[in-house]
């Protein structure tokens, strides 16, 4: 039974922690540490597909498909019908990160990012000095950001050639993301901080300090805002105008006496969903002093994934013990 009377939904338990959740239109796809991939859609029973042997470490949407990377060394493409295609296999090496802009797609294993272009069967290997922490394409698909120790490398494609420029900043950079307009790139760090760059002039800025490591980031709202976990509130950095968050503070919403472990934007309403270390999930508008609505009460288990269908009709919550809650917004 759902823990909150406002919620009326379906609960499922996987055999391992929920790792990731992605939205494909009205379908939500969830991965977990047991190698299974689950599909949830309105008015249909959930579907379960077995894909990887062991943990699915990463997932990205590629139009109507999902790309996944696993500890079994395989890089897979999975259709919404559960058809699995192996794109590449790296043997005993993990596939840590995957990304797609809908046309190009990429994965990383160790220090190398591999990029596939639509007209070529073989990937282009892009090497780095240390293991890749994160991958992201920009919306135009002509740039790939790769986070690693010592900074972020921006690879720019001209024809079939990729050329690099390195944005250096001391420390290990884990995940990385482009702002929706492609003008900024932001990484999460091993330290409790984010680091950002404006690509027009490489001006950089730190967004810190946080009380905990930032494990989850999402673009949300109308500014747009980069919303992050890692504090007792959802921290929302505005990326409006040419300066982005430089010289501005964040808007902090959904504050509680717990650390936010997972964030997700809520479509259309300038809203954000924040999942906490104790399992609570709240919805708030991104504006100062807005009241947050509790969607699910505390369960005692850390929220590890949140996803919303494109129309905002349904929400999925996954946690560190493999509990999945799928419900209709009232």
């Amino acid at each position: 039974m759902p823990t909150d009377p406002k919620v009326n939904g379906v609960q499922q338990r996987t055999g391992a922690p929920v790792v990731n959740a992605s939205t494909v239109g009205e379908v939500i796809v969830v991965t977990s540490g047991d190698g299974s991939l689950r599909l949830f859609q309105p008015d249909r029973d959930p579907l379960v597909f077995n894909t990887h042997e062991g943990v699915i470490l990463s997932m990205a949407r590629e139009s109507r498909y999902l790309l996944t990377g696993g500890e079994d060394g395989r890089f897979l493409r999975v259709s919404l019908k559960g058809e699995v295609e192996e794109i590449a296999s790296f043997g005993s090496k993990w596939v840590d990160c995957v990304a797609s802009d809908g046309e190009h797609f990429a994965c990383s294993s160790g220090r190398v990012a591999y990029v596939w272009s639509p007209d070529r069967s073989q990937p282009v290997p892009l090497e780095h000095q240390s293991t890749v922490g994160g991958l992201a394409f920009n919306a135009r698909g002509n740039q790939l950001a790769v986070a690693h120790y010592g900074g972020v490398t921006i690879w720019t494609r001209r024809g079939i050639k990729w050329t690099k420029s390195v944005l250096a900043y001391k420390g290990f950079h884990a995940s990385v993301t482009f702002s929706p307009n492609g003008k900024f790139v932001v990484s999460t760090m091993q330290e409790n901080a984010l680091h950002g760059w404006r690509l027009s002039d490489n001006a950089d800025f730190s967004m810190s300090p946080y009380p905990a490591k930032i494990k989850s980031i999402a673009w949300a709202g109308n500014a747009p805002y980069l919303v992050t976990s890692g504090a007792s509130e959802a921290v929302c950095w505005p990326f409006k105008g040419k300066d982005g968050p430089m010289g501005k503070g964040p808007i902090c919403v959904a504050g509680r006496k717990q650390i936010v472990s997972c964030v997700q934007g809520f479509p259309d309403v300038n809203g954000v969903l924040a999942g906490f270390h104790d399992g609570t999930v709240v919805l708030s508008q991104i504006k100062p002093e807005s009241d947050a609505v509790v969607l699910r009460n505390a369960t005692g288990v850390e929220v590890t994934a949140i996803a919303v269908t494109e129309t905002g009709s349904h929400i999925l919550i996954g946690d560190a013990e493999g509990e999945i809650l799928w419900f209709k917004m009232q």
Partner: protein, 321 residues
């Protein structure tokens, strides 16, 4: 929440027998679920489903502390392993022959997620009885691996005269008098003497008391790693100690490899227990003093150039006036 998975760090020079020990752990029927993290450039490949190959990556933290380094690959791999469906009973991390054990240990102090889900169990160092003396002369890494160890397996003892064996053991004790030394021929000892020791838990520090005060201060030359232990039957002042100790770790942390202590602070009912690796330390009030018995504060340092740090003087100044 799930209990923390214990992580054993296995160090030792090339040829000391790490691979033999790992193969034993991987093939023996012990009914426990292990994951073994090995370096992909190790001496010989180990082909087994339980093995995860990594490329050792030592990362400096961007926190202004030059000796605060962590193993970036471990943070990534441990976080991945914790997502598995099957809960592991133990994780074993093999380091390369020349690796400094500090970044591995520091990873467990620095990364909160690693610290929440896993616990550093012990540092086990394999030493080759035939070659250790030479290695100690030639490589400071060999000395560090001995200095960091909780358990030292003195292996290949069948290839060395008993007299030489005693000399090697004495040399080990001079560097690190607090490690347990186990003599083996082909890594043949029960696995529970190297796994599940809980050597880094504050709880267990109080259990190695018997050896705690046996130490000598012999020095051959300044580069040598040695140990110093200090004791006081007078209670200590918490504020004074905090000031002295944090300054000490900040300024001398690079030369202090490990530190441990059980302290009697005035006004505190419980024993204050701590342990540190270089500049990082973890401490908490833990367990009662024996009723009616003498409360003796004890502290031990293993490191280089300890004599110059005026440890006795600093420690004495923390006593309640």
């Amino acid at each position: 929440m799930n209990a923390q998975v214990p992580v054993t760090v296995l160090t030792g020079f090339l040829g000391a027998g790490k691979t033999t020990l790992l193969n034993r752990i991987l093939t023996e029927q012990h009914g426990r679920r292990f994951a073994v993290i090995v370096n992909e450039f190790g001496e010989e490949g180990i082909d087994n489903d339980l093995v995860v190959d990594v490329d050792e990556e030592v990362f400096e933290m961007n926190n202004g502390c030059i000796c605060c380094t962590v193993r970036g690959d471990l943070i990534r791999i441990l976080s991945g392993l914790m997502k598995r469906a099957d809960k592991l009973d133990a994780i074993i991390v093999e380091t390369t022959g020349l690796a400094d054990p500090a970044p591995v240990a520091q990873t467990f102090f620095v990364d909160q997620e690693v610290a929440d889900r896993t616990a550093l169990d012990a540092i086990v160092t394999m030493a080759d009885a035939v070659h250790l003396e030479l290695q100690l002369d030639d490589h400071h890494e060999a000395e560090e691996q001995i200095a960091f160890a909780d358990v030292i397996l003195l292996n290949k003892t069948d290839l060395v005269d008993p007299a030489i064996l005693d000399r090697v053991e004495a040399r080990i004790k001079k560097i690190n008098p607090y490690a347990k030394i186990r003599r083996t021929t082909r890594c043949d000892l029960p696995l529970d003497e190297i796994l599940g020791l809980d050597a880094f838990s504050l709880d267990r520090i109080t259990e190695f008391e018997p050896d705690f005060l046996e130490s000598d201060h012999d020095h051959e030359h300044d580069d040598d790693i040695s140990s110093i232990s200090l004791a006081s039957e007078t209670a200590l002042d918490y504020d004074k100690f905090e000031r002295w100790f944090s300054t000490l770790l900040r300024t001398q942390g690079q030369n202090i490899l490990r530190s441990k202590g059980i302290l009697d602070f005035q006004g505190m009912d419980k024993r204050y227990v701590f342990q540190g690796v270089h500049m990082l330390m973890d401490g908490a009030p833990m367990g009662d003093w024996p009723e009616g018995g003498q409360r003796t504060s004890k502290i031990v340092f293993i490191g280089r150039d300890l004599e110059s740090m005026r440890l006795q003087e600093g420690f004495d100044a923390c006593k309640v006036a």
